[in-house]
């Protein structure tokens, strides 16, 4: 029986997390947001870098707090035999184990699937690696932007005719984590039906490739190797990001000729473009694609003298897909995201309020999300006492030898 009844579809599922940095913790966060009891196993001897990077207080590390709300923390030193025994006891009372340690680390620790399966035959064991756990390149390691480069994402992002620029450096870990969460939950469904657990081996690089599946199909279908094309789209034009006043940018995507005709009326009516621009060469999509440089130039010269929010409002009223490109100030003050409680208040270990980023879903029977990330070892009493059933004397002995610090 898990501790708190937060509801949600994964109520009653217990997850042990042996994870570092972002991708593995993100998987755990998604499962926690779905109602699972997610336990991060930590130790003073090998703290996650996000607990210590650039901060003096390991219980107040912004990066850690960002990705670990609604989790429990227990301290077990996995570099001691006694610690490993404790961990195996914990896994024996759990449903899922997630790990994203370096290649070979779980084998060295004695926590590989075979060992875990021996003590908990129906465990769902989710292993996350840059290239997955097996194969000729599985020894290689890297960080998020490496996943994006290897998986084919980076090559598709850049200005037309120029070298690839890649997505923002932060992209990849969370997508990888979401893919791992999906496979984990599917494995849980199977276990619920059949009583059988399994080993789930997730590749970060393949998670990236799965975000561009149609571009890969383009190659297997016709041998076309896609490259970066700025903001252009093969089936829409205009489709771009255009300058406005005050260094702001507007995104405009014209889906069909009808939307184009509406937009063209606006362009014609505008004093800055109406007289000198011949819009007749943009009538059909093939024409607009053939003259796209001129089309984009025409739009940019029209948008640059306007305020982005006013132009968005006007074009939306006309049924045209137009939105601002939101900077970080606008993003955290986005009224819509606050109204939908995407940003939400949770409470920290000492009762203090904290704003976190919620999940990408709303559910009619969702789990409550009200607790911030845990302090180191905040749930030692619960895990050692209620879950593992250790006596006070046993705990004192383990504490004395440093196993549970």
């Amino acid at each position: 029986m898990t501790k708190r009844h937060r509801g949600g579809p994964l109520q009653g599922v217990r997850v042990v997390e042996l994870t570092k940095v972002w991708a593995g913790p993100y998987t755990g966060k998604l499962l926690a947001f779905l109602g699972a009891e997610v336990i991060r196993v930590e130790s003073e001897k090998s703290l996650d870098v996000t607990r210590v990077y650039g901060v003096s207080d390991i219980n107040n590390a912004p990066g850690f707090k960002a990705v670990n709300p609604e989790k429990l923390s227990v301290q077990i030193d996995m570099k001691s035999d006694e610690g490993i025994r404790l961990l195996l006891d914990l896994v024996q009372k759990s449903d899922v184990l997630i790990e994203n340690l370096r290649p070979g680390a779980v084998q060295r620790l004695g926590l590989d699937y075979k060992t875990i399966k021996a003590v908990k035959p129906d465990i769902v064991y989710t292993s996350m690696g840059m290239y997955g756990n097996e194969g000729p390149l599985s020894y290689q390691t890297g960080y998020a932007p490496c996943f994006a480069a290897l998986g084919g994402i980076s090559a598709l992002v850049g200005y037309e005719g120029e070298p690839p620029a890649g997505m923002n450096v932060r992209y990849a870990d969370s997508t990888f984590g979401a893919a791992a969460a999906l496979a984990t939950v599917a494995a849980l469904y199977h276990r619920n039906e059949t009583g059988r657990g399994q080993y789930v081996d997730v590749s970060a690089v393949e998670a990236m490739s799965s975000m561009i599946g149609d571009a890969l199909m383009s190659f297997t279908l016709n041998g076309e190797i896609a490259t970066s094309t700025g903001n252009r789209h093969p089936e829409m034009a205009p489709h771009g990001v255009y300058p406005c006043l005050d260094n702001e940018w507007i995104c405009i995507a014209v889906r069909d000729d009808r939307a184009w005709n509406t937009l063209a009326q606006q362009l014609t009516a505008a004093p800055s473009t109406g007289a000198e621009v011949n819009l007749s060469r943009f009538t059909t999509l093939p024409q607009r694609k053939a003259n796209e440089d001129a089309l984009d130039h025409c739009l940019a010269s029209w948008t640059q003298s306007q305020r982005a929010d006013e132009l968005v409002e006007k074009l939306q009223q006309l049924g045209i897909a137009a939105t601002k490109s939101l900077n970080s100030i606008e993003l955290i003050s986005d009224v819509h995201l606050w109204a939908r409680e995407f940003y939400r208040e949770v409470h920290g270990p000492d009762g203090q309020s904290q704003t976190i980023v919620g999940p990408g879903w709303k559910m009619s029977r969702g789990a409550t999300i009200e607790n911030a990330a845990p302090n180191l070892g905040q749930h030692n009493d619960y895990i050692f006492g209620e879950v593992l059933g250790l006596t006070e004397a046993e705990r004192r002995a383990l504490d004395g030898s440093g196993v549970i610090r």
Partner: protein, 410 residues
Amino acid sequence: MAALSGVKILELAESVSGEYCGKLLADFGAEVIKIETPGVGSPTRRMGPFKVQPASAPGSKTSDARNVDVESSGLFAYLNTGKQSIELDLLQNKSILSRLLSQVDAVIDDHSLEWLSALGLHATQQQHMHSGLVVCSISNFGLEPPQDRLHAEDLNVFHSSGWGFHTPTGGDPALPPLNGAGRFLPSYEAGLEAALCISAALLAQRQTGEGQFIEISKQEVLASRVDYVLAQMVGGDMNVSQCRSAFDLSGPAGIFPCEDGFVYIWLSAPAHWQGLRQLLGDPAWMHEFPENWLEKACTPERVATCRRHLVQWLKTQGKQQAAEQAQKLGVTLVAVNNAADLVNSPQYQFREFFVGLEHPVLGNLKYPTVPYRMSETPAKPLSPAPLLGQRQTLEWQQPQTQPAQVKHND
């Protein structure tokens, strides 16, 4: 055996996000029946890539809407493997819909609130009339978007999530911020999130008999994917600004040209610098840098000098060979791969990331699959996308084919 064997899903979705969600669940062995507009089919059937010189084949239909063979889209083929297709005008056949709903476990939709309401499937209706059913809606900004976000494509969603304004890293403020990779990244992310939520809800449904109404907002899915940064910003722990580099990390990491393409190099720790010294053969210019400069003395001048020398060295290096050497020395250098590199990757071949399927019109093609290998229940497409209206019967008890039950008895 497949993970979601026995699960029945009705797919009303007609765009990339919902179809991708259905595909992911079909890969797990769920029986996914797709409802398509009679004679026309899903709009994704009329989106590229198309097979060049499409072969005519029995059973292939030409759509009235845009004179495109409805069976020649590589996009549709990719998004709909393992599904079955029924032609049905839902709004005209609500009694049939009602019969279908009583037989399925979950519904995937990506239309508007008005559409869902017309079918009797919005949140309140689900709770009262179909309380045991899992219904998932995917939309750009949620089912009730604000007036200034009624119309949006994936480009708009990407730029409403923070990713757009901050792409690429180190972007030139004079140039437009960029779209994400490919045409549909926001849709794939949302489809992935939807599949996760549906799978979890199906598990709960098996245990409690209760359904769930799930609403996926693409904007929120994408914004939640940058939680590490965004939560720090909204929590007051990281600066926000109008600056295009607000999400960035400093340092010389980045994409560099090489002899046959591009590589990505990550440098952030003294160990990386020591490995690089070995890789480059201890060149003189590196002696002028402090050993710990990446962590403690990362000035713009040093970054520029380092980058210049890396560019010089890479001129004579092939991307895969350089990566192999570098990785052995602990240097985080990787190839910037394209589609051909991925199809030819020994790692992808080992893990069988691409699988071949025979489609009656498109022929035998390699399909990219999913990033997880599961020991008990391999997740793979087992049959190609259906021809429009390929399935004739509405009865679930005796389906024509059972893709979920094939093979996998290992």
